[in-house]
C-alpha cells in the first residue's frame, strides 16, 4: 500500500511489497510470500548482527561500520556524556540500483 508522508514522499511498507509480489505469482499464496520475505529479512538481520556482510548483486551491500568512542553532549542540557564505541549498519547501493534511481 502506498501512503503519503507529510513531506509528500510516497512510501511503501513491507506489507505493500508482499502484496505486490503476490500479484506476480502463479503458484505462491500471500502467506507463502510473506513467510519468504520474513525469512529473507531475518537471515539478513542475523548475518549483519553477527558481523557478516550482506551482498546482493545489483541491489547493494550491507555491512557494519565501527564508530570509536567519543564524548558527546546532551543537546538539551549541554551536559557531557560518554558515548561508547559502537557498530552501525551501512548500506552501499549496487550499480544497478544506483543507476536506476538516478535521473538520467
Amino acid at each position: 500500500m502506498s501512503d503519503k508522508d507529510q513531506d509528500n514522499t510516497r512510501s511503501v511498507a513491507k506489507s505493500g511489497i508482499v502484496s505486490r509480489l503476490t500479484q506476480k505469482q502463479t503458484q505462491l499464496t500471500e502467506e507463502d510470500v510473506e513467510m519468504a520475505v520474513n525469512t529473507i529479512l531475518d537471515n539478513m538481520v542475523d548475518g549483519l548482527v553477527s558481523g557478516e556482510r550482506v551482498e546482493i548483486r545489483g541491489f547493494g551491500s550491507l555491512s557494519l561500520h565501527f564508530r570509536p568512542p567519543r564524548v558527546g553532549r546532551n543537546p538539551k542540557t549541554g551536559e557531557q556524556v560518554e558515548v561508547s564505541a559502537k557498530y552501525v549498519p551501512h548500506f552501499k547501493p549496487g550499480n544497478e540500483l544506483k543507476h536506476r534511481v538516478d535521473y538520467v
Partner: protein, 104 residues
C-alpha cells in the same frame, strides 16, 4: 562469511520448504520490487529492518583526484538506508562479541 543470494536460497529451501528454483525467483523478485519502488520515487520502509530512502543532491564542484582538475558533479538522486531502532539495538546488544571478532 558473506550473506549472498545463494545463502538466502538455502534459507528458503531449509526454513520454508521452497524448491531452489522458486526460492531464487522470489529472492530476485523481492529485490526487484524494492528497486522498482525507489526507481519510481517511492521510499521503502521495512519494519524491524530499516528504510531505503531517497536524497536529491544538488550539483557541486568536484575534482579529479588523479589530475587535480576541477570537474563539476551533476545533480543526482541517491539511495540511503536508515536502520530501524530494532536492528540498531540488536547490533548494540552484540557489540562485545563483534569487537572481539573484528579485533582478531
Amino acid at each position: 562469511m558473506t550473506i549472498t543470494k545463494a545463502k538466502l536460497v538455502e534459507a528458503l529451501f531449509d526454513e520454508v520448504g521452497f524448491n531452489k528454483r522458486e526460492a531464487k525467483e522470489l529472492i530476485d523478485q523481492f529485490f526487484e520490487e524494492i528497486r522498482l519502488s525507489l526507481e519510481q520515487g517511492e521510499v521503502v520502509k521495512i519494519s524491524g529492518f530499516g528504510s531505503f530512502l531517497l536524497r536529491d543532491k544538488s550539483s557541486r564542484p568536484g575534482r579529479n583526484p588523479k589530475t587535480g582538475e576541477e570537474v563539476p558533479i551533476s545533480a543526482r538522486r541517491v539511495v540511503t538506508f536508515r536502520a530501524s531502532q530494532k536492528l540498531k539495538s540488536k547490533i548494540a546488544r552484540n557489540s562485545e562479541a563483534l569487537e572481539k571478532q573484528f579485533s582478531e
